[in-house]
């Protein structure tokens, strides 16, 4: 029997972690993810999990301890936000190249500066090319569901790569919503035991991690690592289906909302997708063929599938909740345009930077994006292709 609960996103994720019962959790507090290790250590203190908690002295050490622990054969988890992920950046690369399926709960928060504790995706985007799988969530339910599926994707023998499970700081991490939890045993059976093939502590064999590699070997190592990440796409689809069988909530690479005959589409990621759906509903009521493509799997980037889903769209808005300082586009803008280019698709496309540092994203502001698309249709002129939403200029 599923369990009806009212939980914040942080509580939901911490409860998924409790049900997973990982072996080791090194963590360092940072707003807005602090509550995750707080809730979790309460589970540790009350004997509800067997996990060894390591109260490290920094996020760099948190990820370093994760690497040591996971290489030693222990299922290892951590949580962080913003500057914490940035401080880990060096060793995020090491974790991926060592093929260690560590799980990291990321509560998205703006990077400094100016220092700000609220939501945007600059932390996740800063780590997007470190070799980690990245999943995004719209609401507390998805944050919980993604966490339950995370190890199944990361530990898959075709993948063996670390995974970041994102949710939006404060917007979902601290807001309480009705959600449905799976029973503990159902989660345990779904996630299963971690039985890696080789590890530092394995009886009867020794192994060495982290070699110095000369020019002769680096390209082959990277190629093999890229293949593992590429494989994560199909595994993500398969696990999303299997999760549907135990929960009634099936997941794919992305969600298509009212996209069946859409001529105007918005691509968006994270909590603002919920707001965008309201905007689309209102437009649909007026007879406008509008839809939303909400990205769930951001790394590996499902370029072909996204291009296929957008093939009949005439006017497209791509929403980036980060300023990438590329100056012509954000990361989603760049990658989706590249995906469309490879399929010879040329919808008239605007790219927006929005919601930085927790700036409000409303039905009205997202409706104004569709209105911009109508203007493009009317004039046939794109104007500025990279725009800021709700900014005082």
């Amino acid at each position: 029997m599923a369990i009806k609960e009212r939980l914040s996103g942080n509580e939901a994720v911490a409860n998924a972690m409790r049900q997973i019962n990982p072996d080791v959790m090194p963590a360092y507090p940072i707003t807005p993810s602090t509550e995750i290790p707080q809730y979790f250590t309460t589970f540790v203190s009350n004997g509800q999990v067997d996990t060894v908690f390591v109260p490290v002295e920094s996020e760099h050490s948190a990820m370093s301890a994760c690497i040591g622990s996971e290489a030693a054969g222990a299922r290892t988890i951590t949580a962080t936000s913003s500057a914490g992920l940035a401080l880990m950046w060096e060793v995020l690369n090491v974790a991926a190249s060592d093929r260690l399926p560590i799980c990291l709960a990321l509560v998205n928060r703006a990077l400094s500066g100016p220092i700000n504790i609220n939501c945007d995706h600059s932390d996740a985007m800063g780590a997007r090319n470190t070799g980690w799988i990245q999943l995004f969530a719209e609401n507390n339910q998805e944050a919980y569901d993604n966490m339950v599926q995370a190890y199944r994707i990361a530990e898959h023998p075709d993948v063996m790569l670390p995974i970041i499970v994102c949710q939006d700081g404060f917007i979902t991490s601290h807001a309480v919503e009705n959600i449905t939890l799976l029973e503990d045993q159902v989660v345990k059976d779904f996630v299963g035991e971690y039985e890696p093939e080789h590890y530092l502590l394995k009886d009867g064999e020794s192994i060495a991690y982290g070699p110095y590699a000369v020019t002769n070997y680096v390209m082959e190592a990277r190629r093999a690592q890229m293949q593992g990440l590429r494989n994560a796409k199909q595994v993500c689809i398969d696990i999303g289906k299997e999760f549907g069988q135990i929960s009634g909530r099936e997941y794919g690479l992305f969600e298509e909302y009212r996209m069946e005959d859409a001529e105007y589409a918005m691509v968006i990621m994270g909590s603002a997708a919920g707001t965008a759906k309201d905007a689309v509903d209102a437009l649909r009521d007026k007879g406008v063929k509008a839809g939303i493509l909400k990205i769930r799997l951001f790394r590996p980037f499902p370029a072909e599938e996204i291009a296929e889903a957008l093939k009949d769209v005439k006017y497209l808005a791509i929403m980036d909740r980060t300023e990438d300082f590329e100056t012509n586009c954000g990361p989603l803008g760049s990658e989706i345009k590249s995906a469309l280019f490879n399929k010879n698709l040329r919808p008239l496309t605007l790219n927006y930077c929005y919601g930085l540092g927790g700036r409000d994203v409303t039905v009205e502001s997202l409706t104004s994006v569709f209105e911009d698309l109508f203007e493009v249709e009317k004039t046939g002129d794109l104007g500025e292709v990279y725009r800021y939403l709700s900014v005082r200029e």
Binding site: D50, S64, G68, E70, I207, Y209
Partner: protein
């Protein structure tokens, strides 16, 4: 059991030859002696900071290490080893591992005194059951002999080059063993390659088999950086000890013990003279610099003796 050099050297090597460390390097001698502190029936997991030792002993697809080994990055051997040890606790509790494992981290003075200092301090304070071994060759040798906080005053390095207005490194060296002792961990030892390796052997075994965190600081001369005759390494270590430049001591559960008081404390010149990095101190008019070094050595030695009373 009494120390027996022959018996100890006959133990199976845990660091295979064929690695690419320099001839006359103190680090490999230190590592082999630390590993001899392990009981033969026990396995270890070795963590290594990025260093000469790491890049020379584990070049894909070859490794010199008999035990399981992990290199993560430069500044995080303490935290990485702490992670391995935590995994051991977790998996042992679940009955997933049968044998006993010991946890030893190696770092040079760069990876230990400087860039890895926070990670080391955290691991020591949390009292993980591990030994952190610093092979201290008193500069960043892997990148080409740049000064570190372990470089002694007036040493000539590539970032404190001796010049017309410079006499080498202007600052004192950091006393890391004392800093780590202030973490109130069960065992701290300072040693080097003297006395038929008895001192390093005894301290390694103690450090490895003391429950909780232990720290060993091993003076490990570097022929490239110190510029001495390769064959003279053991003589140089002995001079470091007999001049009281590098005292041998332990801090066991907070109690300071000086392991060796030279019958005749030698002047610091005896340690400095054989080394090219101090050559400029022996030019006319630089006597006051040697006097400075001597005063610093004397002061720290007296403080140590007081602390050990």
């Amino acid at each position: 059991m009494a120390y027996n050099l022959k018996q100890t050297l006959n133990k199976e090597e845990r660091l295979a030859p064929g690695h690419r460390m320099c001839a006359g390097c103190g680090a490999t001698i230190a590592v082999r002696n630390v590993l001899r502190g392990l009981h033969e029936e026990d396995e270890a997991v070795i963590t290594c900071a990025t260093s000469c030792l790491e890049v020379s002993s584990f070049m894909y697809p070859y490794t010199s290490w008999k035990d399981s080994f992990i290199h993560d990055a430069f500044e995080n051997a303490g935290a990485t080893c702490a992670g391995v040890e935590s995994a051991y606790k977790a998996l042992k509790k679940k009955g997933k591992i049968k044998g006993t494992r010991k946890f030893i981290a190696f770092g040079g003075d760069g990876g230990t005194y400087d860039i890895g200092f926070q990670s080391l301090s955290g691991a020591m304070e949390r009292n993980h059951d591990m030994v952190y071994v610093c092979y201290d060759n008193e500069a960043y040798m892997n990148t080409g002999i740049q000064r570190s906080s372990a470089t002694p005053m007036y040493a000539d390095t590539t970032t404190t080059p001796v010049g017309t207005v410079s006499d080498g490194k202007p600052q004192n060296r950091k006393d890391l063993a004392q800093v780590i002792a202030a973490h109130n961990i069960p065992y701290v030892g300072q040693t080097t390659l003297v006395n038929n390796f008895r001192d390093i052997h005894v301290k390694s075994e103690k450090a490895i088999y003391t429950p909780g965190a232990a720290f060993l600081n091993v003076l490990a001369p570097c022929p490239r950086g110190w510029r001495y005759e390769m064959a003279d390494i053991l003589e140089l270590c002995k001079l470091a000890v007999d001049t009281c430049f590098w005292p041998l001591f332990e801090v066991i559960e907070g109690e300071w013990i000086v392991n060796y008081i030279p019958k005749k404390k030698l002047p610091i010149e005896d340690f400095l003279r054989p080394q090219g990095r101090f050559k400029h101190l022996f030019k006319p008019g630089k006597e006051h610099l040697i006097a400075d070094i001597q005063a610093g050595v004397d002061q720290r030695w007296e403080e140590l003796l007081k602390r050990a009373k």
